[in-house]
């Protein structure tokens, strides 16, 4: 995990209000209303003027502890883009018998009219409740009388019976926050560990105070009822986050999930201990998180079931002798037999047995079944917990950190990672959604260790062309393309269920005016092998014929023309998903009656830390030109500090690829 911390490494400074000023509800000032932009970020469409979040545990004799979160926000709306911050949605969780609820909603909009502050109240009838799914409902409202310049303010309490968990608290929004005071008070019986993430440097302030619970008990004796009171004193741990001028989190392209970089604090329950009761421990380290998951019937329990596949397995491995062969046939059997039902999750959904029978299941059903089968034939196989790209990077040990599971097998010294939930994966080639930093490999005894899921092998796209150029600038010739590993995976996922006609029509239309004939493809469905395409191509006007000269970029329609990196700077790492290589070898016969007048210079370019490499080699000989262009990016993730380097690298690549060969009439 160290590596990820390093990559995410620098901190933005925010200032900390040490003394909490009293911002009273309803005391909106004229200055706040007259402000037209936020000096510290003039592009902000809205600004949180003040935010207060206070979380407390309340005790009731009937129901025990519940969590009450008081939410209060005062927001300035600068322009129409900011109107959406006037709509508030609060998601409330439901379990079978208990659910979260909201009370005490007060909300007002403030405007200036004729130099007077006018206040409009949100009516109860303008608040909507909706059952979104089995697991949660939503309460929502939009503020009345909102226009450019309006200040809105609202306050409500969320009551949660789920005392064992505290939702992740975001410390940063998509709009800036001028001042926020966040206070989390937990009784000593619940021991939480706050985990911070994001780019903001946050300094919490800790304190303790005491509180007490009064138990009332009733006794009836000869028609006389008497009450007894018992008092239980306890300590409350208070953590405060008081921050001023929190910058907005701004989107950047080529980031797989912006929330990875949003500052937040996540309260992870470590143990619960009530007086005179034994301590119940919860997750604290990666080891204990994993152990807990492993001990579940829906995880570890699934690995122990073997009856359902005993019979078919004999048939599956009957021609396989070595462990490698067995691994291969079992993997492809599970992949072929099972159909992914689009559910992620680390726990089995239908259960492996039912899933196998119905040929459909979640990621966990499929991959846990794979591990069990591999173990059955004597392979050292284990499940690996991972977090998908869309789920974010698990930076702290939490149960929710993982949402996916893959399989790992060790044969000799080789570790092979597998994901049978996609039809186009293979051993050591996972579905791209699972390529996200580190996973945790769980051994039979429940111990675990981190394992990188980043692919190291270059996925290649190799293209060879034999082309004849005529004096009108039209081209005709043969092309052969090879796609390996992830490039083949991407190709198959994209085109797997497209008819050849449609695919070719698309390909022709992507390369304006191209006509393709004699198309052949090999290994389209043969997952283990690279895909090879071979076809004849003709395409008009690929060179500029101007006067008695012909100009063209020798990669023609394969020339890179656009730099994907357009922004001047960047804060977050660049995510290419997998390392890759793109190589072109082009032989060109020039038209009769012309000679080569000039060719671009051959060059080699490297990126620092061996992240990337570009080779451009061109040779002219008689009426023949040969060009080899080789572009590589050796790492799936590139740290933000290399951004300017890679932007410049791409710029040079494009300049070189667009450079012209000049032919002239003899």
């Amino acid at each position: 995990m160290n590596n990820s911390i390093k990559l995410l490494g620098f901190f933005l400074l925010v200032s900390y209000g040490l003394t909490a000023q009293n911002v009273k509800f309803g005391k909106v000032s004229k200055e706040e209303l007259l402000e037209t932009k936020y000096e510290k970020d003039t592009t902000a469409s809205a600004l949180v003027l003040y935010r207060n979040l206070s979380l407390n545990y309340n005790y009731s004799q009937n129901t025990g502890f519940d969590v009450v979160t008081n939410v209060r926000e005062r927001i300035k709306i600068y322009n129409k883009e900011g109107f959406r911050y006037a709509t508030i949605r609060e998601r409330l969780y439901k379990a079978s018998s208990e659910e979260e609820s909201i009370s005490g909603l007060k909300a007002y909009s403030y405007n200036i009219e004729n130099n007077e502050i006018v206040k409009s109240k949100l009516k109860g009838s303008d608040v909507f409740k909706e059952n979104v799914s089995k697991y949660y409902k939503e309460e929502k409202f939009t503020m009345p009388n909102v226009k450019e310049g309006t200040v809105i303010e609202y306050e409500y309490q969320i009551h949660s019976p789920f005392a064992y968990s505290i939702d992740e608290i975001f410390l940063q929004y998509d709009i800036p926050i001028k001042k926020q005071e966040i206070r989390i008070a937990t009784p000593e019986y619940f021991s939480f560990k706050p985990n911070m993430k994001g780019y903001l440097l946050v300094i919490p302030k800790q304190s303790r105070k005491s509180d007490k619970i009064i138990f009332k008990s009733k006794t009836r004796n000869n028609n006389v009822t008497s009450y007894d009171y018992n008092t239980q004193d306890y300590i409350v741990d208070v953590v405060e986050y008081n921050m001023n001028n929190v910058p907005a989190l701004k989107e950047e392209p080529f980031v797989n999930n912006m929330n990875n970089y949003r500052s937040s604090v996540n309260y992870e329950l470590q143990y619960v201990q009530f007086p005179r009761q034994t301590m119940e421990t919860y997750t604290t380290t990666w080891e204990s998180v994993v152990k807990k998951i492993y001990e579940s019937d829906n995880f570890g329990g699934q690995l122990k079931l073997t009856g359902y596949f005993k019979k078919p397995l004999v048939e599956i491995i009957k021609n396989a002798s070595s462990l490698e062969e067995k691994l291969g046939v079992i993997f492809f059997h599970v992949q072929g037999h099972m159909n992914w039902n689009k559910y992620y999750g680390k726990y089995a959904d239908l259960g492996v047995k039912k899933a196998y029978k119905e040929k459909t299941g979640s990621v966990a059903d499929i991959n846990l079944m794979l591990v069990a089968m591999l173990r059955e034939v004597g392979i050292d196989a284990n499940p690996v917990l991972v977090s998908t790209r869309s789920h974010g990077v698990p930076m702290f040990p939490t149960n929710e950190g993982f949402n996916y599971v893959i399989a790992a097998a060790k044969i000799g010294d080789n570790v092979i990672l597998m994901d049978a939930s996609n039809k186009y994966t293979k051993p050591n080639l996972l579905a791209t959604r699972a390529l996200n930093w580190f996973g945790r490999l769980v051994k039979k005894d429940g111990t675990s260790y981190a394992i990188s899921t980043f692919p190291k092998k270059l996925s290649r796209e190799i293209c060879m062309m034999q082309l004849n150029l005529n004096e009108n600038g039209d081209l005709e010739g043969k092309m052969r393309k090879t796609y390996t590993d992830y490039n083949a995976y991407v190709f198959r996922n994209k085109n797997g269920s497209t008819s050849e006609d449609d695919y070719l029509e698309n390909l022709e239309n992507e390369n304006n005016g191209m006509e393709i004939s004699n198309y052949e493809i090999e290994n389209k469905a043969f997952i283990g092998k690279p895909i090879m395409e071979k076809f004849d191509v003709s395409i008009e006007s690929q060179a500029d014929v101007i006067g008695d000269k012909i100009y063209f970029s020798p990669l023609f329609f394969n020339t890179k023309k656009e730099n994907p990196f357009k922004l001047e700077e960047r804060n977050y790492p660049i995510d290419f998903t997998f390392p890759w290589q793109e190589k072109y070898t082009v032989n060109i016969t020039i038209p009769d009656g012309y000679k080569v007048e000039s060719i671009p210079e051959s060059i080699k370019l490297g990126l620092e830390d061996n992240i990337g490499k570009f080779v451009y080699n061109i040779v002219a000989k008689g009426n023949q030109l040969q060009i080899v262009v080789d572009l590589k990016v050796n790492s799936a993730i590139i740290p933000a500090q290399n951004y300017l380097g890679i932007k410049e690298f791409y710029k040079k690549v494009i300049e070189k690829e667009t450079e012209k060969v000049v032919l002239s009439k003899i």
Binding site: N79, K342, S497, G513, G547, N563, K566, S598, I654
Partner: protein
């Protein structure tokens, strides 16, 4: 004996699973598989309207899915809300041989809120089947039943309901009581659709409809897919009884039942409105002032509940919260205008930016043909004013491509009528790009550009001034994505909302725009308004094509070249004129051959054309694309 027993058992097991050979893959006619991702084996809808306030819709849909892309044609889902109940929904899944492999019961359907992104709240929900196919092809038999008291809206019947899907059999039947009555109209029918109707029983059957492949620039599928529109003569909507038959009557009904008492306002608001327009004589000017007030003080928030599906929220409530949906905001504007003694008409329209869609003037129906509301303001001795009340930024009396050029249903106190909204055609949609730019000896460029837009091209660009700085920069980098290493130095907008003209002034630079080859420097002369799109080629086009929007672009670029270079060659002037539009470029040396004046114009004309003309149109766009890439070659002075 034992052997016999085993065979017998096997047969029994086989029989225990329902098998319907009719649904096996092999029984599909080969012509229905061509170009199809799914084959609708049977789509059967029975609509019963036994009384004016009772409608029952029973649907059975059997789809054989041939591949992954065909999954979306199953349509195993049912929408419902307070007044619309769903029952008896079920799906049975068969494999390619027609053997039952799975069954999805009502309780296993997912039940979720059917709210779209822009809606704060809606009571509409949907139950849908979630199923992971384990093999292709497979067949789903989906049945559902829907009941409602609101009979105003009977869905149109599409005998073929999408591209890449063929139909074995489609059956549509409406039985109705004499007191209800029914109106119907056939569109794009062919000989495969057979009318079997009799009194009180509308009935159509179609068989063996082949799949249609989507082709670029195809006209709106409504205009060539066979379809049947149906409307009950007498209907009920939330207790209000109305009747269709002519636009006047429906409009009168809507006005009386749904609109009339929704325009009341508080005294203080009335006073405010009167003050706003006091001293103004011109009616149009008054409308403009009130429209601006609405734009500055309200915003669009959609809330759909019960009768709110068609009735606007009261003006007084919109006035209190200052938000509403299209109905609420339009009615609110109408109410404000009324205070200033200006009559305005609530108007229903089918809004869509692409696939512009008309109300059929000759088939008056309740709501079936519209999805949006705008405001029509008649002005004496002048053309009507049209207002889009959901936008805070649209210029006064400007509809844009969302609602222009189509039949709309105008509802007046006297009744309803159909009017066509103003159109923005061809030259109306205008863009002028003027630039002066300099190329230096490294191929870098820098220049000043002025872009002026009108009509729908205004509609495409004027929102820029509302964007954040960083988004504006992104937009320009995308607009000129052919120019690498683009750096914007300055931008300035002016939005003339009265004449609907948007002007952008941009200062920019970019390194390595031109490419160096030895002593030569090449660059594409049309740096700032290149149109190189060529529609897709089809080996064998089947459908006619439509250019939905015409436009005119005119450009004038003055290009300055570096001191130590001379012009070796530059593109020839060109004029192309076709049925679809006109293109011309001309180049002229100036300033002692140190600069070139490039003039360009491209006119694309709106129109509907037969499929035979497609290759010709494509050829025109190819010629344009080629000319757009033509380069100037400079050579270093020796």
């Amino acid at each position: 004996m034992r052997l016999f027993f085993i065979i017998c058992l096997a047969l029994c097991l086989q029989n225990a699973k329902a098998q319907d050979f009719h649904y096996s893959y092999n029984s599909i006619d080969a012509t229905l598989i061509e170009n199809a991702d799914a084959v609708v084996r049977l789509d059967e809808m029975f609509v019963e309207i036994p009384a004016v306030d009772q409608i029952i819709v029973k649907n059975k849909r059997v789809v054989t899915v041939l591949n992954k892309k065909g999954d979306k044609h199953i349509h195993a889902r049912a929408w419902y809300n307070e007044g619309r109940k769903v029952k008896n929904i079920q799906a049975i899944i068969y494999n390619a041989e027609g053997v039952e492999i799975d069954k999805v019961k009502e309780k296993d359907f997912k039940d979720v809120s059917a709210v779209s992104g822009g809606t704060l709240y809606s009571d509409s929900r949907v139950k849908y089947m979630e199923y992971t196919p384990t093999q292709y092809p497979y067949t789903v038999v989906f049945t559902s039943e829907i009941m409602s008291k609101n009979t105003g809206f009977v869905p149109s019947w599409y005998f073929i309901d999408g591209y890449r899907v063929s139909v074995e059999k489609s059956v549509f039947r409406v039985t109705y009581d004499g007191s209800v009555g029914i109106l119907n109209k056939e569109y794009n029918f062919n000989e495969k659709i057979i009318n079997k109707s009799k009194e009180g029983d509308l009935s159509y059957v179609a068989e063996n409809l082949k799949a249609i492949k989507y082709e670029r620039l195809s006209p709106n599928s409504r205009n060539f897919f066979p379809r049947l529109m149906v409307a009950p003569k007498n209907f009920n909507y939330e207790g209000y009884i109305g009747n269709t038959g002519d636009w006047r009557t429906i409009g009168k009904w809507m006005y009386d039942e749904l609109l009339e008492n929704r325009v009341e306002l508080s005294e203080s608001t009335k006073k405010k409105v009167k003050k706003m327009v006091s001293g103004v004589d011109d009616v149009k000017e008054k409308v403009k002032i009130i429209y601006k007030y609405v734009q500055d003080n309200t915003r669009y928030i959609s809330v759909q509940e019960g009768i709110g599906g068609i009735q606007p929220i009261k003006a007084i409530d919109v006035d209190r919260v200052k938000y509403g949906d299209c109905k609420g905001l339009t009615n609110y504007t109408k109410a404000l205008l009324q205070v200033a003694d200006i009559n305005a008409n609530y108007t229903r329209v089918y809004a869509s930016r692409n696939n512009q869609q008309d109300i059929d003037k000759n088939f008056p129906t309740f709501l079936g043909q519209t999805n949006h509301v705008i405001l029509n303001v008649p002005i004496e001795n002048e053309e009507d004013v049209w207002l889009e009340c959901t936008s805070q930024i649209m210029p006064f009396n400007f509809l844009g491509d969302f609602t222009d050029d189509r039949n709309v249903f105008v509802i007046t106190p006297e009744g309803g009528k159909i009017i066509k909204t103003p159109a923005y055609i061809n030259e109306d949609n205008y863009k002028k790009t003027e630039a002066v730019y300099t190329v230096n000896e490294r191929g870098d460029i820098s220049g000043d550009i002025i872009i002026t837009t009108k009509g729908i091209q205004y509609d495409d660009r004027f929102y820029l001034e509302e964007k954040k700085e960083e988004d504006i920069i992104k937009q320009y980098k995308d607009y000129w994505k052919g120019i690498n290493n683009l750096k914007l130095n300055k931008h300035e907008f002016s939005n003339d909302r009265d004449d609907v003209v948007f002007t952008e002034k941009v200062k920019l630079e970019a390194t390595s725009y031109g490419t160096l080859s030895g002593d030569r420097l090449l660059f594409v002369v049309n740096a700032f308004n290149k149109n190189t799109s060529v529609p897709d080629r089809y080996r064998n086009r089947k459908l006619p094509f439509e250019i939905q929007r015409g436009y005119l672009d005119e450009d004038e670029f003055l290009v300055r070249i570096p001191e130590n270079y001379t012009i070796e060659s530059f593109p020839e002037s060109k004029d192309i004129e076709t049925n679809y539009g006109k293109y011309s470029i001309s180049l002229e040396l100036q300033e002692g051959k140190k600069s070139i004046l490039y003039k360009r114009s491209l006119l694309i004309k709106k129109g509907m054309y037969p499929k035979e003309a497609y290759a010709d149109y494509r050829d025109f766009r190819k010629q344009v694309a080629r000319a757009e890439n033509s380069k100037i070659v400079l050579v270093k002075a020796k």
